[in-house]
């Protein structure tokens, strides 16, 4: 099994005629069983097609054409138009929205998230590469072209959650090489405010029988790791977690932002050192190197089973 998406998930691509979106659509159609990309939206481009996917002016047209509710949308439109696109998706009944776009002001993101919550929808991202269920479906650019994604990801029992898109693939590939596949890997985005944090995805992995352990990639900035530590402590989770923390050098450089917009360190609780301590307190093992992760998570899974 998996979380968020499976072989039957239908989705559209908003901004489908952009260069990156055309590639992304191809990749999703080619990967695994072939994603059900039931339409694309670019205003003014009604009647065109992208790799056989029909293009519409509005989400409503795509839904009408499909003749049934559409599960998801991958949004890849310029930052100034993203809020509008996401509002449109939500108001047309879409429940899972992956926002690829970077550099969206956080007030816009917060508005999207609040409207999504009010309508029972979930946002992944922004500034993310999406979701992959190995050999089944990928929704977003995660893992790249189908043949590259197939090299890095394999089916299995580890849930992967990462604030970095590229590192989602690096960590999954390391697990795959060690013979440990992934149940679902989610690139959650590198911004200060994102639709779904670690703690907000944990209940889904907790309920997914196929998942036996969680691997996360984290960075300085924000309180997301503290929130995860708290969730783990309060929910007596069955899932062992191993974390990798990048950007430790940033502790010496308060006020500077590296890598992702969300990494700026504004307070003591945001620092790598503080986060590592909090995660450790909650029983989450923090790996020093990526290559240690497979053995660490395997040992924790074995420990829980015995």
């Amino acid at each position: 099994m998996s979380i968020l998406v499976d072989a039957n998930t239908t989705f559209i691509v908003q901004g489908i005629t952009g260069r990156e979106a055309v590639n992304l659509t191809r990749e999703c159609l080619d990967y695994g069983a072939g994603a059900k990309v039931v339409g694309g939206v670019t205003p003014g481009r009604l009647g065109r097609d992208v790799h056989g996917v029909p293009v519409f002016d509005t989400v409503a047209q795509a839904v009408a054409h499909h003749g049934a509710p559409i599960d998801g949308s991958v949004v890849t439109v310029p930052p100034a138009f993203t809020k509008d696109a996401v509002f449109e998706a939500i108001e047309n009944g879409i429940k899972l929205i992956v926002i690829v776009t970077e550099r969206i002001p956080r007030r816009d993101v917060a508005q999207m998230v609040e409207l999504a919550s009010a309508n029972g929808a979930r946002i992944i991202g922004p500034n993310c590469l999406g979701i992959i269920v190995p050999d089944v479906i990928k929704m977003g650019g995660i893992g790249g072209p189908a043949k590259d994604a197939a090299k890095a990801y394999a089916p299995g029992s580890i849930g992967v959650i990462s604030r970095s898109g590229g590192m989602t693939t690096e960590m999954s590939s390391t697990l795959t090489a060690a013979g440990m596949g992934q149940s679902t890997a989610v690139s959650i985005g590198g911004d200060a405010i994102i639709g779904s944090s670690y703690a907000e995805l944990m209940p889904l992995f907790e309920a997914d029988e196929a998942t036996e352990g969680i691997v996360i990639y984290t960075e300085p900035g924000g309180r997301m790791e503290a929130q995860l530590a708290q969730w783990v402590a309060e929910n007596n989770s069955r899932l062992p977690i191993v974390a990798f923390m990048a950007g430790r050098f940033m502790d010496e450089m308060p006020g500077m932002s590296f890598g992702h917009a969300g990494t700026i360190v504004e307070g003591k609780e945001d620092t790598a050192t503080e986060k590592i301590a909090r995660l450790a307190e909650a029983g989450i093992t923090v790996a020093e190197e990526i290559s240690e992760i497979p053995a660490l998570i395997q040992a924790k899974i074995d420990e829980r089973k015995s």
């Binding site: 930052p79 550099r103 969206i104 002001p105 956080r106 007030r107 993101v109 917060a110 508005q111 998230v113 609040e114 409207l115 009010a118 650019g141 995660i142 893992g143 790249g144 072209p145 590259d148 994604a149 890095a152 604030r163 970095s164 898109g165 590229g166 590192m167 693939t169 690096e170 590939s173 390391t174 090489a177 590198g190 200060a192 405010i193 944090s197 960075e219 924000g222 309180r223 997301m224 929130q227 990798f244 990048a246 950007g247 430790r248 050098f249 940033m250 450089m253 308060p254 006020g255 500077m256 932002s257 590296f258 890598g259 992702h260 917009a261 969300g262 990494t263 190197e289 990526i290 290559s291």
Partner: protein
């Protein structure tokens, strides 16, 4: 992007919040003129982006305009937190009966702004929260519903403030929250708000931070405040090397080959992407290496852009070798980065096999990339070599060479 106090004060004033009479000055003459306008005792405050002004002697009190001018001469000479002041703010020395705190920040967990208020102002709000938690009120505000005023009322009332004090503070705190929203701030703080002997309230100091990603939609305000498009307002000013990195990155719009930060080591880094760069920079340091720079490649930049970045790093004084490393790429093409870095070496008359300590970029188009590297005898690694192992090899090589 952090505003100077004199800019923040102006933003507060424009929002309709009462402020003391103040002026910005870059010379003693201007300071004297500003102090004459104030008509009474004044305060001369250094305009730097860092804190700790009082301790450093960057805040001086003056009874006369001449004294204000004299203090300005002194204050302008004092470096605070690594920065020379941009000028001084000449402010009214107000008679205050009580000081209050009001601030608005983002709560990334709740994904809403939160209003914070305390009747104990003038000191660090974190300290008040620790020592007198019942004196700090907090309340989240909706992202979708317009502010109406009761939100601020609830926060203020929760700290025990009532009567005419409450009613006079509500519009000030509401306006502060509104400006936080209107101008895409990540921090909007007035500390302190002062209560004057006549019972009125006035903003005495303000801190504002605007989100960088939103600067484009506040061009008018920024232009009126005199904030240049090129002012990064980072914790420190960009170096010439960093500015050169920006120039490389803006050469064309495809992909990223930039975000350069200068360090003083001997191992040049050509690394990517966001998370990969953070991981690799740590990895180099963990193995005892001394990076000459931080940077990021991503989003499939052109050969010429990658070449430009590599050249910049190769030419940096003190750089012995470069390490070209990324996490597994799916969008950026391995062969394009390989071409870019080899071209950089050749154009500078350097031997790629000698200058490139290691090339570790697995992923899209790696077969083609590895062929090119083979042709020039550059040591490379695929995904079977971890990022940390690659960093270690680079550090060992540079150690053996120096």
């Amino acid at each position: 992007m952090r505003f100077y106090e004199y800019e923040a004060r102006e933003i507060v004033r424009r929002a309709g919040i009462p402020v003391t009479e103040f002026g910005f000055a870059t010379t003693p003459e201007e300071a004297k003129a500003a102090a004459e306008k104030i008509d009474g005792p004044s305060v001369v405050k250094s305009q730097v982006l860092s804190g700790g002004r009082m301790k450093a002697g960057g805040v001086q009190f003056a009874d006369t305009p001449d004294e204000a001018a004299a203090h300005t001469v002194d204050v302008l000479k004092i470096e605070i937190g690594g920065q020379m002041p941009r000028g001084v703010l000449v402010d009214t020395k107000a008679e205050v009966e009580q000081e209050y705190y009001a601030g608005v920040v983002w709560d990334g967990t709740a994904k809403q702004p939160v209003i914070i208020f305390s009747p104990v102002g003038g000191i660090d709000i974190e300290q008040v929260a620790e020592e007198q938690p019942d004196k700090v009120g907090r309340r989240h505000i909706s992202n979708l519903r317009p502010l109406t005023g009761f939100e601020a009322k609830e926060v203020i009332a929760s700290t025990g403030v009532t009567g005419s004090e409450l009613n006079k503070l509500v519009p000030i705190v509401t306006k502060l929250a509104q400006l936080f929203i209107d101008y895409d701030m990540t921090l909007a703080e007035i500390n302190p708000i002062g209560r004057l002997p006549d019972g009125s309230f006035i903003a005495l100091d303000a801190h504002m931070d605007m989100e960088n990603e939103a600067r484009g939609r506040h061009k008018k305000l920024l232009a009126e405040l005199g904030v240049g498009d090129d002012e990064t307002r980072e914790a420190r000013e960009p170096t010439a090397f960093e500015l050169a990195g920006e120039a490389v990155d803006s050469e064309d719009h495809r992909g990223v080959a930039g975000n350069v930060t200068e360090f003083d080591g001997n191992l040049g880094l050509v690394i990517g992407a966001g998370g990969g760069s953070l991981t690799l920079f740590d990895a180099v340091r963990a193995h005892g290496g001394k990076p000459a720079n931080y940077c990021e490649i991503g989003g499939n930049p052109s050969v010429s852009k990658t070449c430009g970045l590599a050249k910049l790093v190769l030419q940096k004084p003190g750089v012995d070798k470069i390490a070209v490393m990324m996490s597994i790429v799916s969008n950026t093409r391995v062969d394009i980065v390989a071409r870019g870095v080899i071209k950089a070496c050749l154009e500078l008359g350097m031997d790629p096999a000698e200058k490139i300590a290691i090339f570790r970029i697995p992923g899209a188009w790696e077969e083609q990339g590895f062929l090119i590297l083979d042709a020039y005898g550059v040591e490379y690694a695929d995904r079977s070599v971890s990022m940390h192992e690659a960093a270690k090899r680079a550090v060992e090589k540079i150690g053996a060479g120096s």
